[in-house]
Every structure is written in C-alpha cells, then in structure tokens.
Amino acid sequence: MMDTGEYIALFLEEAAEQINILEQDILLLEQSPSQDVLNEIFRAAHTLKGSSRAMGFTAMGELTHAMEDVFDALRKGEINVSTSLVNRLFDALDTLKAMRDQIAEGGTSNIDCDELVQSLRNALQETTTDISAANTPSSAQPQAPAELVLQEHQREAALTAIDNGLQVYHFTVRLAEDTLMKSVRALMVLQAIDASGGAVIASYPDEDALDNEQFDDSFQLLVATDKPIEHLRSALMGISEIRDVEVSPWQEATAAVPAQPAPRAEQGPQKVLDSPVAQTTGPRPEPPISSEGETEKTTSRTPAMSQTVRVDVARLDTLLNLVGELVIDRTRIAQLGREFEARSQHDDLVDSLLEAAGHIGRITDELQEHIMKARMLPIEHVFNRFPRMIRDLAQKFGKEVRLVMEGQETELDRSVIEIISDPLIHMLRNSVDHGIEPPEVREAAGKPRQGTIRLSARHEENYILIEIEDDGKGMDPAQLREVAVRKGILTRDAAERLSDREALSLIFAPGFSTAKEVTEVSGRGVGMDIVRNNIQRVGGIVDIDSTPGQGTRISVRLPLTLAIIRALLVRVNGQVYAIPLSSVLETLKIEPEMVQFVGMRPTIVLRGRTLPLISLKAHFYDEDFSARSCRGEEPMFVVVVGLGERQVGLVVSHLIGEQEIVIKSLSRYLGEIGGVSGATILGDGRVALILEVADLFHNVSARAA
C-alpha cells in the first residue's frame, strides 16, 4: 500500500494517454480503417487492460478487455466497422474516461459497466459474411499499380528539390471502390497537397488522365515538401472516399529501378521508411531526409525511450518565474552600468561591468527562450478532442460534417493553450449548429451533402493564428443589423451606419444570438461575447469574415506566450504604465488645439479619420479632460492602440520607451481593476501597471451608448 499514491499518479497519466490514443484511433477506424491503426489501437487497449488490472481496477480491466477483443476481431477481419460499433466503442471509451476521473478524485471507481461489456461482446457475435474491401488491409488488394516513371525534367525537379532541403515523397492514393466522381477526388487530393505546402512534381497517370478519369482506383504522385509528412498525409486522409494513402520517401534509385513496388505493397508505409534497403540503395548518402519524417511519426505515437523526461508543470512555472526575476535584474544591471558610465568617463572597471552586463543579458535571453520553448505544447493537445466532438455533434444535429485540421504541430505556451480551448469549442459548436446546413438544404443549394469545417493553426510573426472556416450558410450583414435593432443593441440609425464588416462583428455583442431557437449545444447563454472577452483578455484578437451562402471564417490571433511581453512604457500623472506592444499601432505628438470635442468625447482627426481619445489621467485619476484642461501650452503624447478594426488614442504625459516586461498578476485583494491587467517590475525596482487595452475599448463603447 505504501507507494500506491505514486503508482496511481503514474497509472492515471498513462491511462489518459492510452485513452487519448484510443479516441483518435477509433475515429480513424471509422473514417479509414487500416491495419496500422488496428494494430495501434489493439496495443493501446491491451496496455490499458494490463495496467488497470495490475492496479486492481477490475471493472476497468474488464471493459478494456472487451474492447481489446473487438479490436482483435476487427484486426483479423472477423467483424466489420460499422457506425453502431463505433458508437458502442465510444460509449465504452467515455465510461473509461469517467472511471479514470473517479479514480483520480477518490482512488476508486464504482461505475458499473457490465451492460457495456455485454454489448461489446454481442458485437463480436454479429459476424458479417461480407468482409468488405474497407476492412481488408491494403496488401490484400491485388492491384499492383503501374509504376510512376519520371521524365527527365521531372527527375531534375525532384533532385533539385532535395538539394534545396525539401523532401520528396512518393504517394500512392487509393480511392474507395465505389467512388463516383473519381476525377473530383483526384483534383481534391492535388489541391489538398497544394494547400498543405506540398508541390506535385509528377503524377501517374498524368494530370490530363486524372481529369478524364482514366485510371482505376489508385493513382501515384511525386510530391516535394518541407512540411512533416504526417501533415500531408492527414490532409489527404481527411478527404472523403479516400481509402488509403501510402507514402514512401522518394530516392533516385526508386525511380531508376521500376521493379520495386513489391516491398511497398506488402509492408505498411511506416515499414518502408524503416527499411534499410530504401536507405542504402540510394546513391546519395542522405538518410536523414528519409528518417526525419519517420522520427516525427514515432515520437508522436510511441514515446521514445531516453529522449524525453516528464517534468512537473509547476516546476516549469517556477523556472519561468526565476527567469523573470533574472530578466528584471538584467535590466537593472544594464541600467546601473549606464549610470556608472555617465559618472566616470574612462574606467576599466566600468567597462568590465558593462561587458559582464552584456553577457548576462545574452545568456538570460537564451535561457528565457529555452524555458519558453520547454513550456510549449503542440496545439494538437487542444485539437485532439475536436474530431470526436464534431462527429458527435454532427450526429446529434443530423448534419454531415467533415473536420479538416491543419497545423496541429504548431506550438504555443501551455498557458495560452488552456485559455484557447473553451473559445474554440464554442466556435466549432456554432459552426456545426448554425453554420453547416442540413444535408438536404446543402444539396438543394448545389453544395456537397457533407459540410467542411477547416480548423488550422500556424505561426505568423509573434502570433499564432488559428482559423475556423466552414462552408456553411454564412452570415448576412443585413440580417445581423436587423437582429441587433430588434434586440435593442443598436438603434436603427446606428445599425445602418455600420459597414458590412462591422455588422458581422455584432455577433460578439453581449446578448446577441442569431439562432432562432436556443439549442442544447450552442444556446447555453455563453455567447460569442464571452469568447471574444476570453481571447482579448490574453491579448488576442478575433476577426470574422463571412459570405452569405458560402461560409464563415473566424480568425483568432494569439500571443505565443503570456509570461513575458514587449511593452511600451509611458508616464501618466508621474507614474509609469506599460502598454502591450501587440496592441500599439503608433505614437503621436499632438498640440492641444488639435483636440476637438464631439459631444463630450475628445477626438482628433488622423489622416482623415476621427480617432477618439481617452485621457489615461482622466480615466485613472478621475481628472477632468475637458476643453479647458487641454488648453495647456504643452504638447501631448498619444498612443494609438487597435483592437480589431477599432482604434483609439490614449493620451499620456510622456513616452518612455520599449521594454521587455514580465507579467505578474495583481492580488485578488485589490479586486477587479478596470483597464489594468497586471503589473510588472521595472529595471529600477519600481512597479508599473500593465494596461488592458480591451477594457479601455469597452469604456469607449459604454460611453458612446
């Protein structure tokens, strides 16, 4: 009994991992069963069965055992994948999750799963006579495809790509047997490769033949890319009616000796990557090219042995805090150095101090960078659960939805990951519920029955950009204006004045929901306004774009980390404030007489546009910012900050400069401070408050209303 606490922690973690694998693979199973997936899923169930039995959680062991039997039967081709079977497996998986959570909370689980076990056992009895092609491993298919023979210019192109550091892969794409419009699928494959960062060098049959459907069930492609191969593969597997995509790294030898398809047809794609033949027969000593994709594959699934260690998140947080301290002290030392320098012209000691300070600065920067990296997680930690969620939602609403995910490997700080999860769930739910139309409606509108939601993530400068795009019914600005007026959010006048783009942003207004009826899923009171607030709270930006009848795209821009940011330091009423540089557009120096008052609101005209002003002094210190107080003789400084489409000018007394700051939260004993998101410690040891730009915008809107 002594050590069970520790073992339980390990067990729980491992169980979570296996459950995760099961979830992903059951989905894959439904979409495109392959022997690889079946093997992996069987292993996961087997591992979980073993460990839960070892820990004495017999019910859990029993349930995983039943699942394992089902996977084994699937693997052997004794039964077939069906929606009802997948639903049963998902039920079992949900029960496993619940059991795991119970154990995590109280050390035991009392969930009864006899019924589930029985239902899984029954599934085993329901043997089918028809072992369809979908269930048979690809190797059993006797269609050994004709070989892709490269023309000289294509071979040149492939070699040049390799010389340029790209990787070249040989794809064999197999369509489902009953595919109706094969040329369309082929076109979609080509487009998907293009969209995922691949370039098609050659195809067999050639593109004209593909267009004219002059091929059987499979075709081959030679693709150059700098993206991880899994990325491309999963993009292709996301296309419906694609039964299988086989990928192997291309080498010159492969093309030169056309009699080689045999091993590829027999082994799974992964095997080919492993194969020493594929690596040694190549005339170029460049095994890393082929092994890189393989490493990525193995690390993402089976944990590599000695290459990684598990670290408690709290420890990483402590490390980051310590580095934060160091960043502050670095700034402090640099400042002291400059002060000494100013005092004594030529002093060797001062020079040494400055040199040491510079060195500490560089080391600190590097340390900071590495620790930040250690805290990064690929966004797939959030994305992982979406395929299942979308599947369940689509079933519930009677819609057909395909979720395409891109850029799962994009990394961002775990603190950001935690915050982005709920808003994404909400937006995806909206897409399924309100965006994608029912299949019949789609057909009537000349669209494919199945709607597509594309969820992508990628880095862009210092941001991560997440986009959710659907090909549903889109939003009509006119209708949004109408609803806003009806709900009393805007006056008719104000609504008419909105541009179409601004009208789309109305969905973020509090109390706005266009759904005709409140559904269980989307209409539970947390609206898009909460989504936007959550995103803005961490310095992110949401943007929306929609074309009626064609779909909607929501873009979310998030900072890579929340711990350390660049900020513009300004002085207001003798005190220093930090404005996150991510929201600063520009700074201006204005003369008091440039300020005009529109109603009670001070504004200036900047390049032909009116820019509302907020005096931080008035805002924070309740001082009057009126025509009279503006008539001082001194020029004023304005920091123009932007939030989406909107801009506002913050009036400050002085601009100090740009600096990297470590964000610290304010004690809850201070209460919610409107317009302030946290605090930071400056190089001189003093505290500066960090402005929350989104809050200030609310302030403007509130006054405008």
């Binding site: 004690s667 317009g675 408050l689």
Partner: protein, 149 residues
C-alpha cells in the same frame, strides 16, 4: 509540568503595533515580515483603503492603510511607520501601521470577547481584547480585514 497546567497557561504570541493612540495586535502566525515604508505604486480604481502595490523582492504585494480600513483617522507617515506583510490564504498583503511596538505573549485567559467594542466602526474586525499590564490590546481578525466586502 503536567498537561493540565500547560493548558491553563496556554498563550498566544502576537505582534503589537500602534494605530493613532490605540494598540492593536495580530497573531504572529499570520506575519510574513515587517518592513520599513517603501515606494508604493498607486493602483487606480482599487478599494479606497488600498494604497497600491510594492515590489517585495520580485513579488508584487498590495498594501492597505490599516487605519483607513478600520475607519480610523489616517496619520501622517513618520520614520516609525511600518508595513506589516501578512499571509492569508496563501496570498500576501501589506498593512501600513504607525509603529510596531513589540511581540507580546498573551495568556488565553487574559483575552476577552470584544463585546464592549460593539457599535464602533472597527468592531467587526476585532476578535478579542487582551490586557497586558493594564494596557488594552485589540486583537485583529486578519482574515476579515483583508477580505473585500
């Protein structure tokens, strides 16, 4: 010494300090440290008794004027003024006091319930009255003091 006498002489260690002319005390277990006055960064729109935040060796700690919190007249800052940093529910908060006098040992049987305080503005925050050498010491209920209403 028998267990019985131990119980009889059980005492509380408190830090006594001055607000105006009165002596208050805080149970020593709450006290994180006592520091001299230092630069306080004003936090706009915080509760009126909050003076702002200080940098306590890299941590940002809010500081309140205890006099303002208790509804007492706020004294000018003097060289004797101190910030008592207490830790309540895992979070630190500083309290400005006019002077810190001493650490006292208050026998439990010298502490009375604050019934005679009833009616005064600070009564809500007093958990007991202690008597030391004819001097009256008001024991603060720290948790009530730091919580916002």
């Amino acid at each position: 010494m028998s267990a019985a006498t131990m119980t009889a002489t059980a005492e509380r260690q408190v830090v006594a300090f001055r607000l105006g002319n009165e002596t208050y005390a805080i149970d020593i277990s709450y006290i994180h440290e006592i520091i001299r006055m230092k630069e306080i960064t004003f936090v706009p729109r915080a509760p009126h008794y909050m003076r702002g935040v200080i940098n306590l060796r890299g941590r940002i700690v809010p500081v309140m004027s205890l006099s303002a919190r208790l509804g007492l007249p706020v004294q000018e800052e003097t060289p004797q003024s101190r910030i008592i940093v207490v830790e309540v529910n895992g979070e630190s908060i500083g309290m400005i006091v006019d002077a810190v006098s001493e650490v006292l040992r208050l026998p439990e049987d010298h502490i009375e319930p604050p019934t005679q305080m009833a009616g005064t503005e600070s009564a809500d925050y007093i958990s007991g009255l202690g008597k030391v050498n004819d001097k009256l010491v008001l024991l603060l209920d720290v948790e009530k003091v730091v919580e916002q209403q």
